[in-house]
């Protein structure tokens, strides 16, 4: 491609003083044209002729035409001659060529403009990039310098660190060395000491032997008379029993000491627990007022419900007394929790207060304080009233408990109480007397029944005796008429057997009620029966209607 070149075309002497500058012009390859083109100035209207006349004059028309033709054909245009190697000019083709050339010229101009624009743009871009490149280079330089500086510092610190580590290690080594020295010396001393001690012990043993052997008459105690023991008792021999007793006493001493200590610790523990509980209650009492201030934290709501649950759980009396791990942990944890809540609350209050101080007086807070004060006053009044009530009640109690004084009302009161009591007592007396009467009645009836029973028993016995006699007599007479009699007796016996069976069953059912039917059987059986049933006295002889009553009564009696 061609170069961009700034071409200054020299002003022709014949032209005006205007200097025209080509900003750019494409170099065309043919050198002959080049020189010609270069030498040509920009055409002004005046120089236009001369410019054009410079190329083609009247002498070289044909040459210039043929040159043009050649150029055009090489450029791809159709020939301007009518026929090749002729001299006739094809005007149409010339005009077409000219038009074509003009169009091309326009195109080229446009392309040139575009190219120039791009060139400008690229130039400015390049400038910009060069500037930024310069700046970045500067920055890079700066950072490199900084890095170097920091590296230097880092190196210095590292070396210092290493020095310190080294010093520390040296010190530690020295300490270790000294300790080793000390320990080695200590072992040496111990060893020497032990050696000397053993020698010393040997000397002592020797000396001891000498002293003992000598049977020194001088080692003695001279006493005018022996003194009694301090506690007045006589000395005792040392036996196994005394040994055991001593051991026991020793353990007793130890135990009593431990028990005492344990008691003290228990007391302390109980006190501390009480204090903790009190603290907990007080903390709880401090926290609920939050509920009345709705603007403040709503998160206290669910927490307080937890609180109340805790209160419910741990306020049970028996829980306090337990000393097991879980209860203790529960107590301490709950106190810690509440203490934290209280702390938060206090901190928030503090913040509020500080905010109040920083801002102007906030009406709400002022009112809340006033509220608080009002509430405290109310509470104080209440407390006063309660105290007075308690005092009056105490006084009343006192008066009641005291011995009778001159006051009429108290006497009356006392009388009232006495009367009440007396009436109650009278009621009870009445009831008691009634019951006593009833019992007496019943007792009497029982005795009557017993008497009757006795009488009846006697009568029964007599009857039985008579009847037996009769039977015996009849038997002895009927023996002769044995069949007749025996069958009825057999029947009787059977009926008796039946009745016996029923009796026995009835006996089973009512052990104290005996025979329902008349006892009649063979004498042997009879006698057996009688002997069996003699204990059960009363009979159900169809004697009286009183019997069932009796039985009922006795039953009743028994049941009662």
């Amino acid at each position: 491609m061609g170069d961009w070149k700034t071409v200054t075309v020299p002003v022709l002497s014949s032209d005006s003083k205007n200097i025209f500058q080509y900003t750019s012009e494409k170099k065309i390859s043919p050198p002959s044209m080049n020189s010609q083109v270069l030498r040509l100035p920009l055409p002004s209207s005046k120089s236009m002729h001369s410019f054009f006349s410079a190329f083609c004059t009247e002498e070289n028309i044909e040459q210039s035409i043929s040159y043009l033709n050649r150029e055009l054909t090489t450029l791809g245009f159709p020939s301007i001659y009518v026929e090749p190697k002729g001299k006739e000019l094809n005007l149409i083709s010339i005009i077409n060529c000219m038009n074509e050339l003009l169009v091309q010229q326009h195109k080229n101009l446009r392309a040139q403009e575009e190219v120039e624009m791009q060139h400008l743009k690229l130039g400015s871009d390049m400038d910009h990039l060069q500037n930024s490149y310069a700046k970045l280079k500067e920055q890079l330089e700066l950072s490199k310098r900084e890095i170097v500086g920091l590296q230097e510092r880092d190196r210095q610190l590292q070396s210092k660190n290493r020095n310190l580590h080294q010093l520390l290690k040296n010190e530690k080594d020295e300490v270790q060395k000294l300790q080793n020295i000390i320990s080695s010396r200590a072992t040496q001393y111990n060893h020497d000491m032990k050696r000397k001690e053993r020698e010393y012990n040997k000397l002592k043993e020797r000396l001891h032997q000498l002293v003992m052997n000598k049977k020194d008459k001088k080692i003695a105690m001279e006493v005018l008379n022996y003194v009694g023991r301090a506690d007045g008792k006589r000395g005792a021999w040392r036996t196994d029993k005394t040994e055991a007793r001593n051991e026991e006493e020793m353990y007793k001493v130890l135990l009593s000491d431990y028990e005492q200590r344990q008691k003290q610790l228990l007391v302390e523990n109980a006190e501390l627990k009480k204090v903790l509980q009190q603290m907990k209650k007080e903390i709880i009492s401090l926290l609920p007022p939050q509920k009345q201030k709705p603007k403040e934290r709503s998160e206290d709501g669910p927490v307080l419900s937890d609180l109340e649950e805790d209160i419910g759980e741990l306020n049970k009396e028996n829980m306090w007394e337990l000393s097991c791990e879980t209860v203790r942990e529960q107590l301490t944890n709950s106190i810690r929790k509440q203490w934290r809540m209280l702390k938060n609350h206090v901190e928030k209050l503090d913040n509020q207060v500080s905010r109040v101080h920083s801002r102007a007086l906030d009406d709400k807070d002022v009112i809340s304080r006033e509220d608080h004060e009002l509430k405290t006053e109310k509470l104080e009044l209440e407390i006063q009233q309660c105290k007075e009530m308690i005092k009056t009640q105490q006084q009343l109690l006192q008066q009641q408990l005291m011995s009778p004084c001159d006051d009429d009302t108290t006497l009356l009161l006392q009388d009232c109480y006495l009367l009440e009591e007396r009436e109650r007592l009278q009621e009870e007396w009445r009831l008691f007397r009634e019951q006593k009467k009833n019992f007496e009645k019943e007792r009497r009836s029982f005795t009557e029944a017993a008497i009757r029973l006795g009488l009846e028993r006697k009568a029964f016995e007599e009857d039985r005796g008579a009847w037996l006699k009769q039977q015996f007599l009849s038997m002895s007479t009927d023996y002769k008429h044995s069949e007749n009699v025996t069958t009825p007796s057999a029947f009787l016996g059977s009926s008796d057997q039946d009745s016996r069976l029923t009796n026995s069953t009835s006996q089973q059912r009512k052990p104290h009620c005996t025979l329902s039917g008349p006892v009649s059987a063979e004498p042997g059986q009879m006698s057996q029966y009688i002997s069996c049933n003699s204990s059960n006295a009363a009979s159900k002889k169809p004697a009286g209607d009183g019997k069932p009553n009796q039985w009922e009564e006795s039953d009743e009696g028994e049941v009662e």
């Binding site: 001279e222 000491d257 200590r261």
Partner: protein, 449 residues
Amino acid sequence: MNFSEPCRLTGLLGRISPDGRCLASCVQYRLIVRDVTTLQLLQLYTCLDQIQYIEWSSDSLFILCAMYKRGIVQVWSLEQPDWHCKIDEGSAGLVASCWSPDGRHILNTTEFHLRITVWSLCTKSVSYIKYPKACQQGIAFTKDGRYMAVAERRDCKDFVSLFVCSDWQLLRHFDTETQDLFGIEWAPNGCVLAVWDTCLEYKILLYSLDGRLLSTYRAYEWSLGIKSIAWSPSSQFLAIGSYDEKVRILNHVTWKKIAEFEHPAMVADTKTVVYKEVEKPPSVETERLSFPPTRALASSLFSTQSKYDISQVPVSFQYIKPVADRANPKMGIGMLAFSSDNCFLATKNDNIPNAVWIWDIQKLKLSVVLEQLCAIQSFQWDPRQPRLAVCTGNSKVYLWSPAGCVSVQVPMEGEFQIVSLCWHPTGDSMALLSKENFCMCYLEREEVK
């Protein structure tokens, strides 16, 4: 406050009887028993040699006088002055002697700690305890006098034997995990025995009455350890003073440290009251001056009065660093004492020899510091009230109580350097002892409460 006339005394051997009626003092080889209130001479006994040690029996009926050089112990009776008793250890020698709690047996420690002989005054029996340990506090009796603990050493190991004092039966015998047992002490409730190791090892062991090891406490290793210990009267606390100038308090429930008291050279806590003794220039009325000056005048001129001033906190004390190459250096907590009501603890840091530190046990912090002009010689608590008496080697006695502090000059002609003092069991009076004299100080009831 009244002071009696001074009486002669040697060897700091002045003891008040346990029932508080008599006072026994020694002058060379004579034992003088006086009435406490009047100092009237009640009895005079003569011993065979210079007396080195005297002790009252627990029922105040007998006094033993030990003469170590001759190896003799003589016992005198107050009820029967004619009664005499002499115990001669002969060639076994005598190093220490003491009464048993029932007041009828005497325990003699023979030379080289070969054995302890238990002589009975009631019977003819003699008992021997072998291998006793040669240490500062090797024998300890419980407060109720029922049990006795003896430290022993066999085969280079330490043991403790517990005896029942009524019949001297061996109750328990156990070994202790100490390197070199230094001392044993019963708790006032008689159920716990504290056993501590030599100052080369900080180790204190607590044994129950039946010989079980309850707990071990070691504060640190390698540096010098325990110097002194004290039980609180209720047995709730055990105070351990060590060479690192700190007192550590252990509690009786867990036997763990509950407090650590430091004794720095500078006290900065504003709640602490520091009483500083300052000298008052003597007041002399010039008209009364006569020539030659009377003795009273002379003594009053030369004895300077002193009073207490309250120093403003922060206060710094005179701190002495002892020489490093000597054994048993004068550093650390050398003296510890609990008050009888369990509320205060008085300590002395040997690095700051002029100060008595009084700690409030209920609050576990420093309450008062008494700064004296001379080094503290001894202090003792009143057996009834929280009142501390201090003596510093001059002729003044100092009393502190929560109400205040007072310094009293003992009116004495000549030198009277109080080195030791001991309270009367009722707390109404105390005996002030110096190297050559002693005097009784009677306190009025309302005084310095």
